[in-house]
Symmetry: C2
Subunit: 436 residues, 2 copies
């Protein structure tokens, strides 16, 4: 930045001072539209916010009050960079429900599992390194990888998650090109956004392929305890202790505390704690004690059952509505848990270009392109069933189907897509809370 | 990482996978010693933890309970990446006490002001860029700059903070060397660790020098409202709107919520929010509402007066004890606020080598080298008066003076320093909560 720049009248006088990584950050046009789309008359099938209306709020408030009165000097003070022992001990119990055996020492607490992703990327990735991801993958992870100037390569995936054969071929091709492949980022349970679950035999094959190739597996499992049909498939971490595992209380309790965790081999855990201390000194202390308090004083496992009953009804409503409303040529996934259904529209439709008209028709979704780093996903959308009540979900799908039908008619009549693509990048730099 | 490495028996099989920035992270020997030094018989003059014993804990707990019962679905949900409007509005009022005029839109909430530092460095600094800092400077900031592979250059400072003439010369020299100087990191009020305050005329000169040179000023002000003698000097941000200003509730309320903020020019604030979303989705939501609740339902300005009365007594005790106990040839600063006194021992002493013997004598301090990126500070220590009660502070200084006297005797008798320097880096990679 020159002296002259400092004093001129440009909109951003700091433009010459930003780091290389900042130049890749852009506000997405999708985000701007969502600000408009927050009006109550619009049915949002876009957001990934958990529905916490069934929590026993007055009882939780009372037990927090007692905690502050009795232990305020501890729960409101600085804490451990690794996270408080009391919550790490409880997390071991939570993970045991998914077949994971671990020790509290191997856990690093993070400000939500998003920060787990950030710190894992920070300690492993230099600019230009490659991270492998499902196809499609979580928008928030893609934003984090971008912010570290990492190259994301999507591995062909299907209704059973990552295809192990495609994984082998992708790694071999990248290595032949001289790329440094650092880790595979995967959500094997009820993935965001695809809503698919990877069977055990594939998990074993994926883990073995990565081990052979020296590629670390980063397993993100925010939805694992929200299996709506059968028992959950064991986590990859349950049979491979070299996995770096990300967990979260956002979907099993509440997201506003911003408490997630990373379970990692000892040496990696040490690096994560150093990185955490540099990033925030320590993860939110009050939040950790608040969640430990909730887990102690409330029947949290029963609460998860209540959540599952609610989400199951909504999932069924969404799938029923899609089956009865969507025009032919449309397909979608059938999630056995989690929050999301991935819809594939007929060839030729552009779901980002269509979004303003959907909002005009009072329904919102996330365009599929947000979940790819490479421009795929133009005819996909992610629909979420977690937040609106069932009757609103049905109305939302009716509106969505109307918009799609109208788009198809226009396309078939004129042979072109309607509307103008939104300016800006297809994929947001940060996911924003509405896209979680 | 090769296949062979992946399966071998080294302590850290991931060693070939870490990023460049991770290779600079080391666990400091000082940190390891502090783990031992946490025993109750040791007087710790090392930590920077605020003393929150005077907070009205039961009343605070009750108002939190009411907040959860009535607004739990909001305060426990995902929130804004920028931070909740309700707390940003209150922060404007807090900053007005230091002469700062601002709008809530220009504030980005962070997970403690440490994360503010992290995000500011993230958006501005590429590896090899230069950040200027006081001499000495905050250990936690140095850790953050290191983690972004930034070169820290200390500017000569005295009992009035940064020397403006030295600042001009340093910038000119660095520019002549072709360096990119991104920002000046400064704590003008009651600095950590030096405990000195910069007078207004110097602040004006420093700001003008930076503006002329196109160097951004990052003003960190965690202690500004803890002026123990006179009225505080106006913040640099109060007369220069291009300053990036970091604030914190850790010292005026409680640190365990991890809520700080960055006040920044509009374009910078936008980048910070994008970086925050990539780092954590959103800063801790419950924490933000909890602090807004505290500011609304409790007399927080009176509480700060209570804190100041407590810290004033402790500061006076420490200064009195130093005056009566320390051997000649020792000098120290006289802080008008904040938490810290910076002690300079006679030439030839090494405070890091001396630390194990101090802990053996049941007193702990932070060796001065922790506050320099360039190996200075060997004969300095930071003493803090914030946490131990006055009688313990006096005992701690007596023990400290005994250790110093013994070191001097040995040095004068044998002409060498005693003891063995600790292994590991002089400066911790992360500060750790005990060093804040």
């Amino acid at each position: 930045m020159t002296d002259q720049h400092r004093h001129d009248t440009r909109l951003d006088q700091f433009v010459d001072s930003y780091s290389q990584r900042t130049n890749g950050m852009r506000v997405s046009a999708v985000r701007a539209l969502f600000a408009v789309a927050n009006r109550p008359e619009i049915v949002s099938l876009a957001g990934g916010m958990p529905n916490i209306k069934d929590l026993p709020l007055p009882a939780i408030g009372d037990s927090f009050a007692e905690m502050v009165a009795q232990h305020g000097m501890q729960v409101m003070q600085y804490g451990s960079g690794q996270g408080e022992p009391v919550i790490r001990e409880r997390i071991v119990e939570v993970m045991a429900l998914e077949g994971i055996s671990a020790h509290p020492d191997d856990i690093a607490i993070t400000a939500g599992s998003q920060q787990g992703l950030d710190l894992v990327t920070r300690i492993f990735c230099d600019p230009g390194d490659v991270v492998l991801a499902e196809s499609p993958s979580y928008v928030g992870a893609l934003g984090t990888f971008l912010s570290y100037e990492v190259e994301v390569v999507h591995v062909v995936s299907d209704e059973n998650g990552i295809d192990p054969q495609a994984l082998r071929e992708t790694i071999a091709r990248l290595k032949a090109d001289g790329k440094r492949v650092k880790f595979l980022y995967t959500i094997p349970n009820f993935s965001n956004p695809a809503g698919v679950t990877q069977p055990l035999e594939r998990r074993v094959e994926v883990a073995a392929t990565c081990a052979d190739a020296g590629v670390i597996v980063v397993e993100d499992n925010p939805y694992g305890l929200l299996a709506l049909d059968a028992e959950p498939v064991p986590a990859i971490r349950s049979f491979d202790e070299n996995v770096i595992y990300l967990g979260s209380f956002s979907k099993t309790f509440a997201p506003g505390f911003r408490v997630g965790w990373v379970l990692a081999p000892h040496a990696v855990r040490e690096k994560l704690v150093l990185a955490q201390e540099s990033a925030t000194l320590c993860p939110p202390v009050f939040s950790q004690f608040a969640i430990a308090n909730y887990l102690t004083h409330h029947d949290w496992q029963h609460q998860i059952t209540v959540f599952k009953d609610m989400y199951r009804e909504r999932r069924d409503t969404l799938l029923d509505a899609l089956a009865s409303e969507m025009p032919s040529g449309t397909s979608w996934t059938h999630p056995a848990g989690g929050f999301f259904v991935w819809v594939t529209l007929p060839e030729g439709l552009d779901t980002q270009a269509m979004l303003p008209r959907a909002v005009d028709a009072r329904v919102a979704y996330v365009p599929g392109g947000a979940f790819y780093a490479d421009g795929q996903g133009a005819r996909n959308v992610r629909l979420s069933y977690c937040f609106p009540p069932p009757d609103r979900i049905r109305v939302g799908v009716e509106r969505f189907a109307d918009v799609v039908r109208h788009e198809l008619e226009v396309m078939n009549t004129f042979g072109v897509r309607t509307g103008h693509p939104l300016p800006g990048t297809r994929r947001p730099a940060g996911p924003g809370p509405e896209l979680t």
